[in-house]
């Protein structure tokens, strides 16, 4: 996309996007990596357009399902040629699609701020397994850095086998070890290396979850529409 901004023909750039998203981990987390171009591009974008537009591009580029690339390129070209106002044109197909894509990714990141479950491992580390649709780990990590600055925790994208660790000062890329991955495949409290306090606390939470629902008003469809089944894997209360 950076090249596109500088005038390269679009086809080059569609390929670049797939390289672009992993770079973003580096950029957002200030972990050193080869993220020069991405970072510079985002800065240019912020200067030329606006922070919200920069964020929109960032979210859209982290989409994990594909199919949005053409629109994203078109959107970037539009921004360059027609100026940032074009972002307000909700009726333009490319703008509408980029906005939709960005909203999906941002939506999942927001949803996960609530649905992430930290489990206390026997080492004392708070470990949160998740399997998101999109590349949202950096966004979610930013949220917990603000929320739990004094604790040590790790977010583990089990699907992509990536992890981000907060050591109390910095966010670092981490490599989940093999035994943990094997335990994830089984995924029950007995298999996971949990602390004794963790087992107790999960039980309390399950009790609360069960009794807080009003008995006469059971509504599984509503529950599922707010909390789709694919997120249940790592929900303590749904195990």
């Amino acid at each position: 996309m950076a090249q596109l901004w500088e005038g390269s023909p679009p086809p080059d750039v569609i390929a670049a996007i797939s390289r672009y998203s992993p770079d973003l981990f580096g950029q957002e987390q200030t972990i050193q990596s080869n993220s020069r171009t991405a970072a510079d591009f985002l800065k240019t974008l912020e200067k030329a357009a606006h922070r919200t537009i920069r964020n929109r591009v960032m979210y859209a580029a982290c989409c994990g399902t594909g199919g949005f690339e053409q629109s994203l390129c078109e959107y970037v070209v539009l921004l360059r040629d027609a100026g940032p106002e074009i972002d307000e044109n909700f009726s333009h197909p490319a703008v509408a699609q980029v906005r939709r894509t960005a909203r999906q990714v941002a939506g999942e990141a927001h949803r996960l701020k609530g649905l992430v479950r930290f489990r206390e491992l026997s080492t004392g580390l708070l470990w949160a397994p998740l399997s998101p649709d999109h590349h949202v780990l950096p966004f979610v990590a930013g949220h917990f850095r603000r929320r739990m600055p004094a604790a040590n925790w790790v977010l583990h994208d089990v699907k992509r086998n990536e992890a981000i660790l907060w050591d109390g000062q910095r966010l670092l890329p981490a490599m989940p070890d093999e035994s943990l991955q094997a335990a994830c495949a089984i995924n029950n409290d007995a298999a996971l290396p949990l602390s004794p306090a963790e087992k107790q606390c999960s039980e309390y939470w399950r009790t609360f979850f069960k009794t807080i629902a009003v008995p006469g008003r059971t509504n599984p469809e509503l529950q599922r529409s707010n909390m789709p089944r694919r997120y249940w894997t790592w929900l303590v209360e749904k195990q």
Partner: protein, 420 residues
Amino acid sequence: MLLDEKIAILSGAARYDVSCSSSGSSRGAGCAGMGATSRAGICHSWADDGRCISLLKILLSNYCIYDCAYCINRRGNDVPRASFTTDEIVNLTIDFYRRNYIEGLFLSSAVQVSPDNTTERMINVARRLRNDEQFGGYIHLKIIPGTSPELIQRAGFYADRLSVNIELPSEKSLKTLAPDKNKQAILQPMRRIGREISENRALRRKQKRLPRFAPAGQSTQLIIGASPENDLHILRLASGLYERYALKRVYYSAYMPAVHDRLLPELSAPPLLREHRLYQADWLLRYYGFQADEILSEDMPDLAEAIDPKQAWAYRHPGFFPVDVNRADRETLLRVPGLGLTSVARIIASRRFGPLDLKQLDRIGVVLKRARPFIICRDYQPPKEPAVPVFAGQHKTPQAAPPQQLDFFDEPDMAIQRRS
């Protein structure tokens, strides 16, 4: 008693309170502390009844000296009883919060010894969390009717939100169904909270460092269907609460027959649809510029079941439509069925690039199925005579502002002075 049993008893007793919102407050974690609140609020789970779980919603105790007819914890009712110690509830909150189960704590209680004694115990929990545990998450404290002003003042400096539940929408129903409570005992703390909030806001404009008093404001809850008040009465009460007590939210809770009492109606099912329609009407009051007396009137004092209140209004005002989406101002657009706050904002932004057509409106997110009969756009005009559904009712448009009759607010001394 095991902690697990206490949790079951005291969360089971708290589940009839609908409010679970964690929004309206933003607070960052200190470097040593833990927790922050986020302005938009975050849901952490959805219970089997489909409702969002955001807070650890729980009673400190369900031993009660009061005798409210609709309440499962009323004195003399044979239910298992329990109380938490301060430590138990503090630790539970912290343990749940660290694991990201919750945004914070919503603490309420039955009246154990007296209103002040109970509130004091709740404040203790909040104080421990804030001062000893450096807890920065959300705290909502339920204030017991009849709590003294000193305690309210203390509570507000630990809590993000305070609430006093009105429960029964008129004084008469209160007398019959909740004989130990009275209008004054409910309204005095509400007024006090409102005053503290606005004074604190004014002071903080001059001194930024001052601690905030209940930054997420106050809310209340009304039980729907346990007493005979109609929807017009309820909406007038709600709009009075928004305007004069500056409440953030009024929650409506469909009455769930949990106890049998000859004073209570025998309902086969809780009035869920009515509750839903009231929330829609409440939304119209707060965000869409409607007045209670536009939504309903004395000849038609209840919300229609078959259509939402905004559609009902549209069918009763054919002269107002069709609205030209390429010209109309925001206020007018907001009255069109199928257009929401977001789509209206988008229409206004997008039409600067040229007049919009149906396809573009669809892309913007307008619910065309509902909006079509009421709009004009570049390539569309509705047929001359839109069909008016029979169930919408036909009645007169209210003239000017009708007199506000609020059962709860009828005494002049109770009006809160609005500060500007």
